[in-house]
Symmetry: C2
Subunit: 404 residues, 2 copies
Amino acid sequence: MIMRFRGAGRPAGASPQGPDTIVGMSEPQDILWMRRALDLARGVIYTTTPNPRVGCVIVRDGRILGEGATQPPGGPHAEIMALRAAQAAGHDPAGATVYVTLEPCSHFGRTPPCVDALVAAAPARVVVALGDPNPRVAGQGFARLRAAGIAVSAGVCENEALALNAGFVARMSRGTPWLWLKLAASLDGRSALHNGVSQWITGEAARADGHAWRARADLVLTGMGTVLKDNPQLNVRAIQTPRQPRKAVVDGQFRVPEDARLFDGTPAWVFTARQDADKAARLADKNVEVVCLPDAGGQRVDLAAMMRWLGEHECNEVHVEAGAGLSGALLAADCVDELLIYLAPVMLGDAAGMVQMPLLEHLDAARRFRFTDLARVGEDVRLQARDPSRWLALLASARRASEN
Amino acid sequence: MIMRFRGAGRPAGASPQGPDTIVGMSEPQDILWMRRALDLARGVIYTTTPNPRVGCVIVRDGRILGEGATQPPGGPHAEIMALRAAQAAGHDPAGATVYVTLEPCSHFGRTPPCVDALVAAAPARVVVALGDPNPRVAGQGFARLRAAGIAVSAGVCENEALALNAGFVARMSRGTPWLWLKLAASLDGRSALHNGVSQWITGEAARADGHAWRARADLVLTGMGTVLKDNPQLNVRAIQTPRQPRKAVVDGQFRVPEDARLFDGTPAWVFTARQDADKAARLADKNVEVVCLPDAGGQRVDLAAMMRWLGEHECNEVHVEAGAGLSGALLAADCVDELLIYLAPVMLGDAAGMVQMPLLEHLDAARRFRFTDLARVGEDVRLQARDPSRWLALLASARRASEN
């Protein structure tokens, strides 16, 4: 793709004034190209996990020489894809600027280090959105580039870049996935009528949007109450996806029916606090792994332990679609990083609430999230809110990488 | 104010293409000028009631000759203000275009008919946003203008115009005010903790925004539960306003404490289903009028009767700021036209709900609103939703006026 320009070296949308009227002329350009790289990363949001979604654009004189995004695990990373594209188009990236949404890797994983390929290509400058907190990278990518005489800038569009890879950064920096609660309710926060009727408070568009969030996650997690009440499939159906996320149920007492619809032969986990080797063996035939975790009391799964276990098992993002019980328990156990709430324009009055939690005595005792997005989805609205301190902690760990 | 233009007769923001590339070239211009007129009407949103808020702009060759907005009751209407402003600036409106947000009045009220002044000024064209469903106007304004050889267009920005005067249109067309429920809650729809703690779930900015809605209303209505629990003043304090709305409490059993803070000497109503002449006489000394309304059963005020009474008493807009009891009763009695809901980014779990209503057995039994606006207000969000069928009924009554 070649972007067109109005003037010399100035991308469309940049200020029409001359360079002397803007301090740091490079910045609007950097943001424009980084946004292009972020778009490329978004294009692979369903396929790269457990690797991060990364996009890369190589630019010289306001023209794209090559661009690319991370391929599924085992395949080339974004930088390699972009370098190959430049080569295929007959462009030499020497002296160009490389925009990449995450610090180039400096270690041998399933593929050789991208930083070696970049050094060999000899761009003049590499602009990175987010440092990689992966302890095997963590600033070494930057250091290697600088040692090769390549200028490095970091932190361009870092919030957008983190939103694409909060799960990867969380797993690398704190050892647990990034977890969001998906909830759907009426405007007065009711997720079901007193008689249990809950399908469908929100509409088709909200359901499809919810499936897009399922699709990007590594894991779709639910609770036993939901399995018994709704017997959900928990897979992605309302949108196209090349990859189904894994499914899991939190089931402290290991009461899950062996014929539950979510056990459809694709990989699934049951997290329990009770051993039952025979049942576990039978479920194994259905591709279900039963994971016995510490008991938090009363045959309830220790949710913090579950989060660590998920981090150890390469889960970046967990999408929770559960009833008020598990949703409230995750909030009470401080395992929730983000809320993804769909509200329908209807008031239901006395009916089931969205979350069950221990009674609060003071408003200050409630964890405060921060709204990050409001959107209309069909007839409904979607509200997103994040835990601000956890978000800042992830940003800080990514920044530490770039300061190493 | 003189707006500046890039080309001949084309306001800033209109299409730069020539007239032959746009079908109905006048339309973007009409919308621009009508928006200016709407802005003027918004500027008098706190002061015109029970008259509608109206703005008027007189334009010729892309220049404003004069503009104005309706003055407080008894004062001149928008058209007269605009004509006077044109005259004061030495401009003759003959042959100009007049943009006015509501059909010019054709009857003697507190002031002479605006349509006479317009006919005398002899503009070439009058563009109106909304027909006036006032049975004393209802198309006669349009008819008089046309009879004088003035071209008339109606329906430009009619939804925005109706949003400014839904209360006036509702009172004129159906005999009752436009009523909105203002509610504040956590993201999971909880308006108080189990122990009653509710101040403040939402923040300062949401409170100030709520006061702006109080300020535009004719009446701020609450219930006895809120008087007993919070003893609110119910006046406008968080923003500047030249006029305080009237206050009222729905109190079927007439239990209201005579020293309630809302009885501060400004006009107030108590709506009750129980007579108590002595108490009523004592309250009259505090400028409180006790209104005995039909009993809906069990000493509960018939809310539909209250709405009719309010319509008869020149109430255009009712702002309800009450607890779950009255809020739910108004919903159940089908008296709610609009929802104004502030949500804080916090989950509270088991705690007081936003509205108490009779149990629903089916989701279809719940009245569906339609979201009209989402906004961030400080750390909180504000969601607005209207009853779509009632809105369309108001629009239809305004359109009938312009088709007469």
